[in-house]
Point group: D2
Chain length 121, copies 4
């Protein structure tokens, strides 16, 4: 156990990666989505979040099978974007520390997690 | 003055048009935006809002000059989407009543207004 | 059928009411919610949307039983706000036309509708 | 430099803290706000974000002077919530690692930063 509470570069990189994930999810959750509009929404999410500082790459895949099942079940033509329709990878680089993060469904809950933290001193 | 408070089809068309405008604005306001990402965001806004019931057409133009001025002023590479960067037209058709609505800046405030209500009985 | 496409005050009142509903839904959908936090969220939704022009009253009820069932089913302590947890009434007054609107679940879908349009000339 | 890319508990705590900050900002940015509604919105933000996993405490202060200045300048009665009106502190505890984070204005930009990372092994 250490007394030093100053954040390391790797910790800051992880903090930055978390900001991107929270931003992505809460900016776009609730957006009306259909199979026809899923592609342009995925591109817009990628492009907009990549604007944020230290964000190297954002990859958004819409789980189209899941989306079509949900629409068939509800006899609807569109629904609201939520985590069950998304797979996301975000890569952040802060001062040479590269952090790879991912959101995937786990037990019916969209789990955001750190995959790897590279470049620590 | 009439005692009948039952909504007409034209009034319902106007209500539906308002829903689309409020949805569009409050879903996407705050999205990180730069000149490079403005195009894909505009397309995604159009495609997603067009999913909503009775919505015939959504046209979103990003006011790029205004966006570039705001970025130059702040020495920033991106900013948050807000009404001053948008011009939007939404057309709704409900039971043969076509409503055209528009959002434009007026005195520094993004004003949403009804342009025309057609097809009244 | 008339050729005049100028909006009436009642139509504008309906448009304004729609804006409030779309705003309310897409601003707050996705917010983390639990039985303990439902009350403060409902108050904040009411107070913030009442700021909008011509908005006389907003009443938000969280359907607590529905919320608790959803949490029990998912073995979760919180979930995301969506239409199934809300009952909303919004009253708008524009130039003496009073419009009452409501959102309730109907066949598993949060339906926004005009209840009454009063004060027409 | 190490080859091990497995996240530490402290790094995960920082990632979790970032998620809360991004969530808070992008869920609530754009909400209509006035001096009269600022208090209930601040409480709702605190209560809703505290629902998220590992989140110990959220403190939201609305910068009321800044808000009143912005309204006076625009001759408006309300505006949209954005970073310049907020001061936020979020505390996260993950496996005994306590992370304190803060958002404050710096050079006209709402900067989110790690204050301290405690409990590292």
């Amino acid at each position: 156990m250490t007394d030093d509470v100053t954040p390391t570069d790797a910790e800051t990189a992880c903090f930055e990666a978390g900001i991107k994930f929270g931003s992505l999810y809460h900016q776009f959750a609730g957006t009306p989505i259909s199979p026809a509009s899923a592609g342009s929404l995925a591109r817009a999410i990628e492009d907009s979040i990549e604007n944020q500082p230290h964000c190297t790459a954002v990859t958004v895949d819409v789980r189209e099978e899941e989306l079509e099942e949900a629409l068939a079940e509800a006899s609807a033509e569109y629904t609201e974007l939520t985590g069950r329709f998304l797979e996301v990878e975000i890569v952040v680089d802060y001062e040479g520390c590269e952090v790879v993060t991912r959101m995937e469904m786990e037990d019916g809950y969209p789990l955001m997690r750190l995959e790897s933290v590279g470049g620590r001193e």
